[in-house]
């Protein structure tokens, strides 16, 4: 069993940001998306997560199999860290947040209202949500933003544990994470792909 994507095309506006993306992801490996700013990493992840429908091509798995975490944290400022986690646990049908708390050592922050967290602390809360979802594929968009060295290591350990348990991960990042089993997908800069327009309004010359 593996997760495959064939010949995927994703658009933003009317521009084909990605074209012909194919990969096959084995359980137990992480796919690292690399590419310069604006090359389409976020676009690809949102498409895989089912937020943007693909323009062409096929995604060989269900949106239900993928847990997404984007550039923004999705942490509610007025709720405490614990309330945030309990809410997401309930949404995913569990009530056990202990694993999530341990992963990023959130215990001391549990009762703190999220609005009083520092940027890195908020990021930790956001990432710990992943372990609550119980989904096989983690799709993470620059997860280590604002994290210090220690917490980056914690994050890598969490991903490794997820991989060891037979999960998979797709991670867009600019840094080296130190994961155990890694494939890399390089995305070329956007310019390269601009000629292959599929905008119906550019199709054939208008009189």
């Amino acid at each position: 069993m593996s997760f495959t994507v064939t010949n995927l095309t994703c658009q933003r506006g009317s521009i084909p940001v990605l074209e012909g993306v194919s990969f096959s992801l084995q359980p137990g490996t992480a796919l690292v998306l690399r590419g310069p700013n604006g090359s389409g990493k976020t676009t690809l992840l949102r498409c895989l997560a089912g937020l943007t429908p693909p323009h062409a091509g096929e995604i060989g798995f269900d949106p239900d199999e993928i847990a997404y975490s984007g550039h923004s944290d999705g942490v509610k400022a007025q709720l405490s860290v614990e309330e945030n986690l309990v809410f997401w646990a309930a949404v995913y049908g569990t009530s056990d947040i202990a694993a999530a708390v341990d992963t990023f050592d959130l215990a001391p922050l549990l009762s703190r209202p999220a609005q009083f967290l520092s940027a890195g602390q908020r990021r930790r809360v956001s990432l710990s949500r992943m372990t609550l979802t119980n989904r096989p594929i983690w799709a993470l968009d620059e997860p280590t933003v604002s994290l210090d060295g220690e917490n980056t290591a914690r994050f890598a350990a969490a991903v490794n544990r997820h991989l060891d348990a037979g999960g998979a991960a797709i991670i867009a990042t600019h840094i080296e994470l130190g994961l155990s089993q890694v494939d890399t997908l390089e995305l070329a800069p956007l310019k390269a792909r601009l000629d292959h327009g599929i905008d119906p309004f550019l199709d054939g010359a208008l009189t």
Binding site: Q78, P108, L109, S111, R112, P113, Q115, F116
Partner: protein, 242 residues
């Protein structure tokens, strides 16, 4: 020793602790005397019958509703200028009491209005001003409730209280301009011809004194509660950070 020393929470607690029972007893006594005297030992008014006796609740609560706002204004100024925490908390503590007084004045007035004017509510300028005052209280309290950080809340509510006071006075004049009313004039002013008779007057004074004392006691008690709350919050946030 200057009065500002009481701005230290601990000093304030130490000083007011023993005061409260004394003031409380005094307030209870004068309220009891004023109200019992007013309700049971004054003659019925020749025009208004026994309904006039509601005056012993109505007038003092109306006075205190306004005075509570004045006290909040002063306390807010003190906080803004001298940054004394107790002062900000005293303003916060006074608001719910003031709003209750306003409600009592409105309710007793409405009850009184039915026999006197044949309606619970009329858009008389004084009644209307009171409704407006009620709205100002609501806004002030809502702002306190909405802000998480205590010092930020103190700052912003103080600014609101200042600006609000100016506009409350403006509203009063605007309302007078808008409608001339049915309501009684000032009955306590010294020169007025139509002052109420002495039989009504003295129990009213006692009852007003009772309300003033009651207000002071309640503000002190609530300020002390707020201080304790702040202490708990400070301890909790320290605990959390550790």
């Amino acid at each position: 020793m200057s009065i500002w020393e009481f701005a230290n929470p601990k000093r304030f607690m130490d000083a007011t602790g023993p005061l409260i029972p004394v003031l409380g007893i005094l307030a209870g006594l004068s309220l009891a005397v004023g109200l019992v005297w007013g309700f049971f030992f004054t003659p019925d008014d020749f025009r208004q019958g026994s309904t006039v006796k509601i005056i012993y609740l109505h007038v003092p609560s109306a006075l205190m509703a306004i005075n509570a706002w004045l006290m909040m204004l002063v306390a807010s100024l003190v906080w803004l200028i001298r940054r004394h925490h107790v002062s900000a908390l005293a303003a916060k503590a006074a608001a719910p009491i003031g709003v209750t007084m306003t409600l009592i004045a409105l309710a007793t007035g409405a009850i009184w209005g039915k026999p006197m004017w044949g309606t619970y509510w009329a858009w008389d300028p004084r009644l209307t001003s009171f409704l407006v005052l009620f709205l100002f209280y609501l806004g002030y309290m809502a702002l306190w409730a909405a802000i998480e950080d205590a010092d930020t809340a103190a700052d912003l509510t103080s600014v609101l209280c200042l600006v609000g006071s100016v506009f409350a006075v403006l509203s009063r004049y605007a309302v007078l301009f808008w409608n001339q009313g049915l309501h009684q004039g000032a009955s306590l002013s010294l020169d007025a011809e139509e002052n109420v008779a002495d039989v009504f007057y003295f129990p009213l004074l006692v009852s007003i004194a009772g309300f003033v004392l009651l207000f002071v006691v309640l503000v002190l008690v609530r300020t002390r509660t707020e201080i304790r709350n702040r202490r708990i919050l400070a301890l909790i946030s320290r605990e959390r950070a550790a």
